[in-house]
């Protein structure tokens, strides 16, 4: 038992992302309401963003802005002192794109609602078959 707890604590960050990601996936698979599906998709995206940002972390590293002052370089820059900037760059764009895709998803949901007057999947299906 203590062995399992130790493994969870050692890599608790991955456990958190995987739990979040599975919550999102579960919502996307099983929920019948389209808005709930969209919310699930956003939770999934958030889990991936957190995962990437945590990959960039370095113990003892500071934010990836090189220490500078007017008057030039004082010392050499070493990679160990700064956290990995690459995941931050990737996720910076991913966050804005996530908002944009959320907008498109909501627009589609509005169109579906205007046409079928419901956002429940099974009711939409029955209306498609019925008419």
């Amino acid at each position: 038992m203590s062995g399992i707890v130790a493994t969870i604590i050692a890599k608790y960050n991955y456990w958190i992302y995987i739990c979040l990601m599975m919550i999102g996936l579960y919502a996307m698979i099983t929920k019948r309401n389209l808005i709930k599906k969209i919310v699930g998709m956003n939770i999934f995206q958030t889990a991936i963003i957190l995962f990437y940002v945590s990959i960039g972390a370095k113990r003892g590293g500071t934010i990836p802005i090189i220490e500078h002052a007017h008057g030039g370089q004082s010392h050499a820059v070493e990679a160990v002192h700064y956290i990995n900037p690459l995941p931050h760059v990737l996720m910076l764009t991913a966050i804005v794109v996530a908002v944009a895709t959320l907008g498109v998803a909501l627009a589609l949901a509005i169109r579906i609602y205007n046409r079928y007057r419901t956002l429940e999947e099974d009711e939409i299906l029955s209306r498609i078959r019925g008419s």
């Binding site: 493994t7 050692a10 890599k11 608790y12 960050n13 991955y14 456990w15 995987i18 739990c19 990601m21 599975m22 996936l25 579960y26 698979i29 099983t30 945590s54 990959i55 960039g56 972390a57 370095k58 113990r59 003892g60 590293g61 934010i63 990836p64 802005i65 090189i66 220490e67 500078h68 370089q73 820059v77 070493e78 990679a79 160990v80 700064y82 990995n84 900037p85 690459l86 995941p87 931050h88 760059v89 910076l92 764009t93 966050i95 804005v96 794109v97 908002v99 944009a100 895709t101 907008g103 498109v104 909501l106 627009a107 589609l108 509005i110 169109r111 205007n114």
Partner: protein
């Protein structure tokens, strides 16, 4: 169906958790992700681009193509929202007006083509009370939010910030206006056409800078080519090129956020928002 979904989710979650056994520990400086590409960025950014913020330098210079197409994706999302939702045509149905000196709310049925003006102010049907506190508080806050957004864009070289963040804050300030007053007030400040054109201008600034570099004899988005135009050395020209591109990104992101909000909140009718 629900049980099958739960089973699938638990199975894939367990598989992923099993894989984490081989993953590096949190904050490990010698993890594979921190060993291959990023040390080059961290050590060379200052001498190659003279931009202290490595994230900005990688975003707009080293990975310039990626960011350009991300901006295009955002532009595309704005256009798709517009095409899916926008309903053209006259406003029909009932309108609510408030008589400003007395505060009386009147209900006009079938106000087709007619509109009251002068002492009357059109109000949303879902929310009729006169909310002075919210309007005044937002009127005070919005200019400061916008100045802060411009600071975030312009100071992205030296502090956390850049086009994406500043653009979102700028867009949020206009959306705050639309929420605190109503959608029509925000549309009078920044109209539908303006938003669409700004959205395209942002992407055009980005791609145009790249094409200018191409015309000046270097690779696409190689800002060192701008040195002769800007009158600086190639390293400083990279820094300036990044600023130009970030401005384009900021404009595109701001316009897209407003565009998506306008379309989604009014379901494409542009009469009453949230």
């Amino acid at each position: 169906m629900k049980k099958l979904g739960l089973l699938l989710v638990i199975l894939s979650g367990a598989l992923l958790l099993y894989a984490t056994v081989d993953f590096p520990l949190w904050g490990d400086p010698s993890s594979p992700a921190s060993l291959h590409v990023s040390p080059r960025y961290i050590e060379k950014t200052m001498e190659e681009t003279s931009v202290p913020n490595i994230v900005t330098a990688v975003l707009a210079d080293y990975r310039g193509f990626d960011t350009m197409f991300e901006t295009t994706v955002i532009f595309g999302a704005g256009v798709v929202c517009f095409l899916l939702l926008r309903v053209l045509g006259g406003e029909e149905g009932d309108h609510y007006y408030r008589h400003l000196p007395t505060g009386v709310t009147i209900h006009v049925k079938g106000a087709k083509g007619k509109s009251l003006s002068g002492e009357f102010e059109r109000i949303d049907m879902l929310w009729t009370p006169y909310d002075l506190v919210i309007k005044t508080a937002c009127r005070i806050m919005i200019p400061f939010i916008q100045i802060y957004a411009l600071y975030v864009i312009a100071h992205g070289h030296h502090s956390p910030g850049g086009g994406f963040q500043g653009g979102v804050i700028l867009g949020a300030s206009v959306i705050l206006l639309a929420i605190s007053q109503n959608l029509r007030t925000a549309l009078r400040r920044i109209g539908e056409k303006t938003v669409g054109i700004l959205c395209a201008i942002g992407v055009f600034i980005y791609a145009g800078t790249g094409a200018l570099c191409l015309a000046l004899g270097r690779n696409f988005l190689d800002y060192a080519a701008l040195a002769s135009v800007l009158g600086t050395d190639p390293v400083t020209a990279r820094s300036h090129g990044i600023l130009i591109v970030e401005t384009g990104v900021g404009i595109a992101v701001m316009a897209t956020m407003i565009w998506i909000y306008n379309n989604v909140s009014s379901a494409g009718r542009y009469d009453e928002g949230l």
